[in-house]
Amino acid sequence: MAVVERGSTKIWHRRERGKQFAIWAVWLLSTAIFVYCWHLISGKTVWFFVMDAPAQAIDLAARMTPPKWSYMNSLWRPIWDTINIATLGTVIALIIAVPVAFCAALNTTPSVLFVRPVALFIIVSSRSINSLIWALMLVAIVGPGIFAGVIAIGLRSIGFCAKLLYEAIEEIDETQVEAIVATGASGPQKLIYGIVPQVMAAFAGISVFRWDINIRESTVLGLVGAGGIGLQLDASISTLAWTQVSLILLAILATVIVSEWVSAKVRHAII
């Protein structure tokens, strides 16, 4: 009890003493870890450069303005490629994610012991690895280009979509499914009439959500050679063409804003 009776007065503490000490200990430990990590990072930092950074930033900003507007003509194609990478990657991911999700959801999986762990492993490994690393890997295997980008985005998105989808499947209202089974429906019929209608909205939401994220991610895939506007960004930075860099950043910004607007509209339309 956090209430101590001392004579006739009762003294109240928010927590029992042991628990309070435990909380302090956790705080102390966390602070120590943070300070230690910070110490190690600062040991690897050349503070002279950091002090110099504001001057560098002003210099860089000066070199980046004004954006080289004429360069825009050679950016339309990369933007188109970027959008394609995101869209096709999302489509591929969804096609694979749907069966994986049904295998991973506790209430629809064919086998809890064998199929579910495999599906969960696919989800975890796809999610753990950033699309840029997938791209790095695929560029090494199938060579640079849009194709590697599409596959990278696809592989990265499988885990994300499948995870959200299987959580949605597990949250469905079982009584509705029961009602369908009670009519004498077969397994696939149960799926189509009892489960799919309940997760359809979630599925649509997830697709649009992931597409929006994928647009952002595909803008940088070019940094490792997997196509899209990132290629131009990489080239411009390495040739120190800063006025082009600023234009590319503006183009990325515009693409992201438009995609966010589109996905908000679509989401609004489905829900």
Binding site: M1, A2, V3, T9, K10, I11, W12, H13, R14
Partner: protein, 268 residues
């Protein structure tokens, strides 16, 4: 004493919630505010402690003009107006004790309240009140573990630990069963008598209002249409407040109930 002068509220949406409310509630009086949903009952009591800003008229607590206060003075004034809410409005993830002590927030500084180091006199009073409402064994339970009636008792203790001069009570029984509703209403009325508090109780259960309040004010479309004793609620008056309905049964039932209550009270 609480005094409202020509109080009015028009929401930004253009809805006129209250018009020309004139009301005086002396110390120690329990006043029930009845009326259909949307009549402005909630708005009225929230205009008193300015959780809702009135757009016309003035409100006075004794000699203090509530409607003229700046934000700091308003906070100090709120300390003397205890509020009890529909659906209890406890902070669910805080313990019973923390919820009760939150009634003292207006009296202690930020760091003290942050560290939960309230003056021992506050703690003593909290224990006394919890004992009075019958919850002294649940001090360290989290608010979301309590039943509806228990939560409302915590809500009452939170309002009373403020040492208020007036209680503003918003539908205290809306989500409680009939028996608990009566217990809660009785508790509120007793506590008001004990500490000589003025109370404004919003309630849409006419029976309960008649049973416990000594004065009834009927509100319809933001205007006072009845102000008088509980036994003045004739079918005509109820029709005026709520609209056409067969009111005979309601009123009879009240008489029966009153007798029962008196019997059980005298039987104790």
């Amino acid at each position: 004493m609480l005094r409202l002068e020509d109080l009015g509220k028009r929401y930004k949406t253009g809805d006129q919630a209250l018009t020309g409310i004139n009301l005086e509630v002396p110390k120690g009086q329990v006043m029930a505010l009845i009326g259909p949903s949307g009549a402005g009952k909630s708005t009225l009591i929230r205009c008193v402690n300015r959780l809702v800003e009135p757009t016309a008229g003035r409100a006075w607590l004794d000699d203090l003009e509530l409607t003229a206060l700046g934000s700091g003075a308003l906070r100090r004034a709120r300390r003397s107006m205890g509020m009890i809410f529909q659906e209890y409005a406890l902070v669910e993830r805080l313990s019973v004790m923390e919820n009760v002590l939150s009634g003292r927030l207006g009296y202690v500084g930020f760091w003290r309240s942050f560290a939960r180091k309230f003056p021992q006199s506050d703690i003593d009073q909290a224990f006394r009140l919890l004992e009075r409402v019958g919850l002294d064994h649940m001090v360290d339970k989290r608010a979301d573990e309590l039943s509806g009636g228990q939560r409302q008792r915590v809500g009452i203790a939170r309002a009373l630990i403020q040492n208020p001069e007036v209680l503003l009570v918003d539908e205290p029984t809306a989500s409680l069963d009939p028996k608990t509703s009566r217990q809660i209403m009785r508790l509120i009325c007793e506590l008001c008598k004990e500490s000589n508090l003025a109370a404004v109780i919003n309630i849409h259960d006419v029976l309960l209002a008649q049973m416990f309040a000594e004065r009834i004010v009927g509100l319809q479309l933001g205007e006072i249409v009845y102000d008088g004793p509980p036994n003045g609620l004739t079918p005509e008056v109820l029709t005026q407040i709520y609209g056409e309905e067969d009111w005979a049964a309601t009123i009879e039932a009240v008489d029966d109930d009153d007798n029962n209550v008196e019997e059980s009270a005298s039987g104790r």
